[in-house]
Amino acid sequence: MKPSDPIVDLEARSFGRRSLEALANDSLRGALDKVTTEFAKRREQALAQAPDWEIWREQARAIKAHTLASLDTYLAQFMERAEARGIHVHVAQDREEACALVWEIVQQAQASNVVKGKSMVTEEIGLNEYLLSQGLAPVETDLGEWIIQLAGEKPSHIIAPAIHRTREEVGHLFHTELGVPESHDVEELTAVARRFLRTRFAEAEVGVSGVNFLVAETGSFLILENEGNVRLCTSLPKVHIAVTGIEKVIPRLADLDVFLSLLPRSATGQAMTTYQTLFTGPKPDPDDEGPEAIHLVLLDNGRSNQLSTPLEREALACIRCGACLNVCPVYKQVGGHTYGSVYPGPIGAVITPALAGQDRAGNLPHASSLCGACRDVCPVKINLPELLLDLREKGEEAGLSERWGFAVWSRIASRPRLSSVLGRGLTRALGLAQSSGLFARCVGRLTATLFPPLKAWQRGRELPPMPARSFRQLWKAGLDAEEPPA
């Protein structure tokens, strides 16, 4: 069967509707503001200890640009060398293929228990839903992922999937779902997770994970984590399936140096994560520890469509640190679920149209004020505002009224005389509307009807008192004549 489409829940114009729901949710907004501010603060502190930050960013950007320009070569090299290490490499064009591949491996392993480490790509392909539809219930073992799995939700942040949940809500969720006494103590809640998940690790035949970096030179791959759950997922079960995107490849093992310097600092403000695991193949000897078989599923799912131009290619350099979400003033107000994609925030607004199609996600690039805070923090210097602009230009999102509006506006604004006459007329009308009385109200209503954007503007913002004369008039009326003081 076809997996459901979890990457997006993008009915037309859904960002707007969902944003209203998010804005009305005080608990969500409180949690978001607190956690994103804390992440951003920790990142700042980590950067203060890293004087070479800008040099690292340049290096990482250059490595990514080079690799993506020859992605086919590096992927071929990686696959050849990974196979030589005994890793089974599979390629999936889309999420259907990826899910089917994983299911086939699970069946071959005769597994009925599957544990998972945190992986955005398996969220993208909807692996959990797919496995459930086949009658197998996988268990998430990352604390945040486990919380949202229990709550029946999608992640709302790339590295902190349950960022939208307060500890009180988590305590209540554990109480109702697991029958444990309700607690709001973080240590106690973590202990509950530990107790429940340990047995799952022990009984699992298959462990599923994501990947942070594929190394072409050595045919090995690296995973970063803080909880140790990925180590358990990938060492206790006899089969390990790693699922990742084709863009994760880097040329050399030595290149990890710069990415390991950038990623944890950008994500959580850590100099390094608690665990860094480099996978070099299944155990060579039955008496060794570790899985008997390692499978790696490489997913395209629209990524190769982004390779055609250097600008679009930039988005594939993303190392999924989430820093752009933490500083995005839009994300900070409305949270990840509002975007309707498992990849939210500025980077999500750029990659979701590539993965899900412009027709379905074309409105996301407009869900930004183009402030550029994301570009400032991106560890690989992706020019996110420029990519958003590019998508706006290409998109068909602009409705007829907007296109007509700009067509008319541009014809007026390109004629200085006409635009100043009309501008004065408009300020005159708005000035009248600001006075009191029935006539003023009529003028106000008429002006707002004639200019729909004005109506939206005035929903919560009051215009300043309208000036009696424009700058052009004041200039002509004597401002032009004044000489500089002697």
């Binding site: 960002f15 707007g16 944003s19 804005l23 503001d33 003033p329 839009v330 900070k332 107000q333 409305v334 869900a367 930004s368 004020s369 183009l370 402030c371 550029g372 805070a373 570009r375 602009l389 998508l391 706006r392 230009e393 999102e397 602009a398 296109r403 700009f406 506006w409 541009s410 604004a413 390109s414 004629r415 200085p416 635009s419 100043s420 501008g423 004065r424 408009l426 300020t427 954007p453 939206a456 503007w457 929903r459 919560g460 913002r461 215009l463 300043p464 309208m466 000036p467 424009s470 700058f471 052009r472 008039q473 004041l474 200039w475 002509k476 032009d480 004044e482 000489e483 500089p484 003081p485």
Partner: protein, 228 residues
């Protein structure tokens, strides 16, 4: 700006003259085209911006813009007009364009203009002024020299106010929530005014402040520097 906030233009002209500059203004100039450009309508943006090329494309005077996002748009005009004479004129404009505080502090090397403004203010870093033009310290240096003015920093001084051109009307509620977040942190500082040099941010913040009945004013840098 010429239509909605002419007092900013007047204050700019007056204080530039006080700083010893000869100021000209060509009434034939048009809008820079930014509203259309940022919404993804490049053709319409070019149609409008051509008026800027015609009016300001030749000559060697510096172009001083009392609005960071308009200045940033003029700086990126070469990417809109990629060929021939238009490109040359766009490049000439880009090279000669300065945001007001950038011009005063970097080009004129003036920080004190003899202004006096009694009260406590905080600076709002407009996104384009800060991130496209790299202007952070210049306006703060200018405000520091104003007599009787106390300058404080608000949490999130460099966070977007939520205007964002068409964003402010397309996603009006999100835009307002962003303004409210800023205003909450501005009000925490106990200032009487938030000062910026981008007219769009001031429309947004000022508009929300007025609606909320706040005592905090939204003022343009030129207005503060032109007070005596």
């Amino acid at each position: 700006m010429g239509t909605l906030a002419p007092q900013v233009g007047v204050a700019t002209v007056e204080l530039l003259r006080r700083a010893g500059c000869t100021v000209g203004f060509d009434p034939q100039q048009t809008c820079c085209g930014q509203p259309a450009f940022n919404a993804g309508h490049r053709r319409e943006a070019c149609r409008v911006a051509r008026g800027v090329l015609d009016a300001l494309g030749s000559g060697d005077e510096l172009i001083v813009v009392p609005s960071g996002s308009c200045a940033a748009m003029l700086v990126r005009l070469p990417s809109l007009f990629e060929e021939g004479q238009d490109h040359e004129r766009a490049c000439s404009i880009a090279e000669r364009t300065r945001e007001l505080s950038q011009f005063l502090v970097r080009d004129l090397q003036v920080t004190s203009l003899g202004a006096r403004w009694p009260g406590k203010v905080t600076w709002h870093d407009a996104c384009h002024t800060l991130r496209e033009l790299g202007v952070r310290s210049e306006p703060r240096q200018l405000l520091a020299e104003v007599s009787d003015l106390e300058q404080v920093e608000a949490v999130g001084c460099d966070t977007c106010c939520g205007f964002g051109g068409t964003f402010a009307v397309k996603h009006a509620e999100v835009s307002m929530a962003m303004a409210e977040w800023k205003i909450r942190h501005i009000e925490e500082t106990g200032v009487t005014a938030v000062v910026s040099s981008d007219v769009s941010c001031l429309l947004q913040l000022g508009g929300r402040l007025r609606q909320m009945g706040s005592k905090v004013q939204a003022l343009h840098l030129a207005e503060v520097l032109n007070t005596r």
